[in-house]
């Protein structure tokens, strides 16, 4: 496409013809304040914050809809532009309650940000403010009309992205307010939670997150949603090591700026309290007793060595990373012939996002189902992730992550050796000879593979219990113990070793995956179809 050249605040910018000023500026590292503009929504140019001066033009123009023309000199910091922004910010504050101390958005509020940056030092309004109160929009959404700045992002979201048309503007002028139609609120809109994220102020609130934390007390880390196989890029917010909120992280190839409410609301399980906190092994009386890692590993290696060649049943977990499952599989195969299985819940149908059809709540309700299949695991059990466990008699059983909550009373009793790389207590994994506590996906570095074969990075979002270790590390050390190979020093190297399981991984590394993910090459996907 033909390019045009302009200058923005003196910086020379070359962009394809048709690029909007706000985008051209962003490309040049110049941020233009805005409220109604959102890169994934239509631009109504109504917030009037992004007005910029084009040298020689009589009026300021909205940067969100005005396209760059050749030779233009665009000024975002001219006196005229700055005065207009200051004036508009003052208008916003005429009716805004400034109740920042009790507002959930405080700290990540665009009104707060821009007013602090460029607003008048003293407000001139002495008038009574408009009071609209709160409105329950249904589902998780609460509306605070007093704080609303009428940017209509939420309205456009329900029209253009979620397709529910749940929200609209009623009334006009300064009586304008966002409202639902009749009794059809945002309840039932499977993507409604996104309106809270895109609301630039604290007008749309999550009831779930309401008054839970001040955002500056949160630790935010990038991750991948573990609640279905779509692999939405997310940011995991935790406070005092408890995860309190999941929010989408933009990725144009996977989830745009969105995620579904199904995924968003399922984070409590990552905070589950009933964790194994230290290795447990059977003492002479046959009772599980706490032990140190060194003792546990050395004893387990000693016990495994005479059993080399014994068939292995490996039960993997689609909620754990490629590295964890992959190293467990490599360990199992180093011991003997391996039956690698996993169980994972399935929904009856997908929930597609109408405005961004690439995004759907997939049928597979775990983050790494495809990853396990590609590594060589076979899916067993029903759609509730129950049943299907292979016979254990005379075999070595390694259970990774799966709590085996539905297993029979005697599960594993007839096994040659039962090792649980466990997360939480259950009757079945308390029958193991060794319980080695592992970190969850939210507590380790690693990768998930989504439904289409895209490998994406996870970063730790909370600390694992002090005694828990990443499964890839435990398995790596055990492998090193039995065949004198060296254990991978870190998760990135554990990833590189996955090439032993599927050649497709040979073309990837964490550097290549980066923060946006990378596709496995086609043949590696086809290969797994045979395993299926």
């Amino acid at each position: 496409m033909e390019n045009v050249t302009c200058t923005i605040d003196g910086v020379r910018v070359e962009v394809p013809r048709g690029t909007r000023i706000i985008e051209a500026a962003e490309g040049a590292g110049i941020g233009i304040a805005h409220y109604c503009y959102h890169p994934a929504l239509s631009a109504p140019a109504m917030c009037r914050m992004c007005l910029v001066e084009i040298e020689g033009a009589p009026k300021l123009v909205p940067a969100c809809v005005t396209t760059v023309a050749d030779g233009q000199s665009i000024l975002t910091e001219s006196e005229k532009a700055r005065e207009a922004r200051q004036g508009t910010l003052e208008f916003y504050l005429a009716n805004h309650p400034l109740d920042c101390p009790i507002c959930d958005k405080s700290g990540e509020c665009r009104l707060q940000d821009f007013v602090h940056a460029e607003g008048r030092r003293h407000g001139r309004s002495v008038e009574a403010k408009r009071v609209l109160g709160q409105d329950d929009f249904g589902g998780d959404i609460l509306y605070d009309g007093d704080r609303c700045i009428m940017c209509t992002r939420c309205v456009r979201f329900t029209r253009e992205i979620s397709g529910s048309n749940a929200l609209g503007v009623v009334q006009r002028g300064d009586r304008s307010v966002i409202d639902t139609f009749f009794d059809h609120g945002t309840e039932g809109d499977p993507f409604a939670g996104n309106v809270v994220d895109i609301c630039p102020v604290g007008a749309l609130l999550s009831k779930d997150f309401l008054h839970k934390a001040r955002v500056w007390d949160l630790d935010g880390n990038p991750s991948i949603c573990p609640n279905c196989s779509q692999g939405c890029n997310i940011r995991v917010d935790s406070r005092d090591n408890l995860i309190v909120r999941l929010r989408p992280r933009p990725n144009p190839d996977v989830n745009s700026y969105w995620m579904c409410d199904y995924g968003r609301r399922r984070y409590e399980w990552m905070n589950v309290a009933d964790r194994f906190e230290t290795p447990l092994l059977r003492d002479e009386a046959g009772e599980l007793a706490a032990a140190g890692w060194q003792t546990s590993i050395l004893e387990l290696v000693a016990e495994l060595k005479p059993l080399l060649g014994t068939e292995v049943v490996l039960i993997g977990s689609a909620s754990m990373s490629n590295e964890d499952n992959g190293l467990a599989l490599r360990l199992a195969r180093a011991i003997g012939e391996t039956k690698a299985v996993f169980r994972s819940p399935r929904a009856e149908s997908e929930t597609v996002c109408p405005g961004f059809p690439k995004l759907a709540r997939r049928k597979d309700l775990a983050g790494n189902v495809r990853g396990l299949e590609i590594l060589g695991f076979r899916r067993v059990g029903d759609d509730d992730a129950k049943g299907g466990l292979p016979a254990t008699a005379g075999r070595i059983v390694i259970a990774l992550g799966d709590s085996l909550a539905d297993a029979d009373d005697g599960f594993g009793n007839d096994a040659a050796l039962f090792v649980s790389l466990g997360i939480t207590r259950s009757p079945a994994n308390l029958r193991a000879r060794y319980v080695l506590p592992v970190a969850t996906f939210a507590e380790t570095d690693g990768t998930f593979t989504n439904f289409e074969g895209r490998v994406q990075r996870l970063w730790p979002a909370r600390s694992a219990p002090a005694g828990a270790r990443p499964a890839w590390q435990i398995c790596g050390v055990l492998m090193a113990g039995i065949d004198a190979d060296s254990a991978p020093a870190d998760a990135a190297r554990a990833f590189l070793s996955l090439v032993e399981l599927n050649a497709g991984f040979g073309e990837l590394s964490w550097d290549i995956i980066g923060s946006r993910g990378a596709m496995l090459p086609e043949p590696s996907l086809l290969e797994t179809a045979e395993i299926g």
């Binding site: 109504p44 140019a45 109504m46 917030c47 009037r48 914050m49 007005l51 009026k59 300021l60 909205p62 809809v65 005065e83 207009a84 004036g87 508009t88 003052e90 208008f91 916003y92 005429a94 009716n95 001139r124 309004s125 002495v126 008038e127 009574a128 408009r130 700045i149 009428m150 503007v169 009334q171 006009r172 002028g173 300064d174 009586r175 304008s176």
Partner: protein, 431 residues
């Protein structure tokens, strides 16, 4: 019902048949020379019509005064794939304006004839008349006229055997001032919220239903048949060089005689007020004049010796707008007057753009305090400053319109404000 006041000095072109109910019917209109222009236009063909209208110098009567022929020529000429639309703005909701209402009431066929000519010239297959919802009587009259032209084959699938299909639809608005703004009108016609659209795209490229569209004021189209009949030269012989033709002046306020008076553009405002309209009623004296509808700056009594054409009024610091002249006598409370105007704009702001949504309402609150004696000098400064921030910062000009009377009244009638201000600053509002 006879027309209330007429004046022998008037040049009655559009208003010739005001007060004559017989002119409302198709038969009556034809007897008065109606639809000859349409016949002639069909012979001339689209290009010639546009040329003639261009040559006449006719300018849009909705307030902006944009040359009509030039506007028509923006419509795509060869693109037959997209339907073209002609919209008629009969939303007349500017306080002070009541000319389109009278044109619709008395001469519905004058409007429809002009519309059919315009549609033919722009190859528009559909004419929508967007009429203000409160115009019950004009709507009935225009609706009846539309039925008549359909029955007579002047509109419909084949206009007078020309092969051109032109449908005419009357649509009533739902009571929003902003729907008189052309792009808000289009949104409203499409069934959306009546909110102005961002330009570009301009209507001639993507207007109503996303198709090429031209929107004209009622009075503009009413002038077209006369131009076709009598020629551009004749039209240019009236008015001034840059503002040719006649104009309906909507005279209201504290006048002895009020109503519509038709004069060539360039007619003197003072003469209009004192001679034609009989001066200020009850023997009072003049205080202020709003020359072009509530959205234009106010003129003080000593500023009215001006010609009423687009250029001269602009030179005097105001605008001709719709030539809706609101006259205020010496008893008028200017602060109250301005407060009421701004209240109107605050009520009618569509609420899209922040400076307008918040600014108009804020101004009202300050003006109410001033009126109630609960304001200080700093409030006047705030008013001026808010007004500045409301001019040129929004999608349409509603907020500019609200700021104009505030600025002009503070500049021209400072004493009226001063008298209401408290001297013991600061003043706090009460709820």
């Amino acid at each position: 019902m006879a027309y209330p006041w007429r004046d022998e000095r008037e040049t009655r072109v559009l208003s010739e048949h005001f007060g004559d109910p017989a002119a409302r019917t198709l038969e009556g209109w034809k007897a008065r020379g109606g639809y000859k222009a349409l016949v002639r236009a069909l012979e001339l063909g689209p290009e010639r019509i546009v040329e003639d209208v261009k040559a006449s110098g006719l300018r849009g009567r909705g307030g902006a005064g944009f040359p009509t022929g030039v506007k028509w020529s923006f419509m795509p000429k060869d693109d037959r794939r997209k339907p073209h639309y002609l919209l008629i703005n009969a939303d007349e909701s500017e306080p002070g304006a009541f000319k389109d209402r009278e044109l619709c009431r008395w001469t519905p066929h004058q409007l429809i004839e002009g519309a059919l000519i315009g549609a033919f010239a722009m190859r528009a297959s559909h004419v929508y008349i967007y009429m203000r919802g409160e115009f019950f009587e004009p709507a009935q009259i225009v609706a009846r006229a539309i039925e008549e032209v359909y029955a007579a084959g002047l509109a419909g699938a084949d206009v007078m055997g020309s092969g051109q299909a032109i449908d005419v639809t009357l649509h009533l608005g739902a009571g929003a001032y902003i729907c008189g703004e052309e792009t808000a009108l289009m949104n409203s016609l499409e069934g959306r919220r009546g909110q102005p659209r961002i330009k570009p795209p301009f209507p001639a490229a993507a207007g109503v239903f996303g198709q090429p569209t031209t929107i004209n004021n009622v009075e503009t189209l009413c002038a077209v048949p006369h131009i076709i009949n009598r020629g551009a030269e004749w039209y240019r012989s009236m008015g001034t060089d840059k503002s040719p033709g006649t104009k309906l002046f909507n005279m209201s306020g504290h006048l002895v005689r009020r109503g519509n008076f038709e004069f060539p553009l360039g007619f003197n405002l003072k003469e209009l007020i004192y001679d034609v309209c009989g001066g200020i009623r009850d023997g009072r004296s003049l205080k202020a004049v709003i020359p072009g509808g509530s959205s234009v700056p106010i003129l003080a009594a000593d500023e009215i010796d001006i010609a009423l054409d687009y250029e001269s009024v602009a030179k005097a610091g105001s605008m001709l707008g719709t030539a809706s002249v609101i006259v205020m006598d010496d008893q008028t409370n200017m602060v109250k007057q301005v407060r009421r105007i701004v209240e109107f704009y605050a009520h009618e702001s569509c609420g899209q753009c922040t400076p307008c949504r918040e600014g108009t309402a804020w101004m009202v609150r300050i003006l109410r305090r001033i009126e109630a004696g609960r304001a200080a000098r700093s409030d006047i400064d705030t008013l001026i400053s808010l007004g500045k921030n409301m001019i040129g910062t929004t999608i349409c000009v509603l907020s500019d319109s609200a700021a104009a009377p505030v600025h002009s009244s503070i500049a021209k009638f400072p004493a009226e404000y001063d008298a209401l201000l408290r001297q013991d600053e600061p003043v706090m509002a009460t709820a």
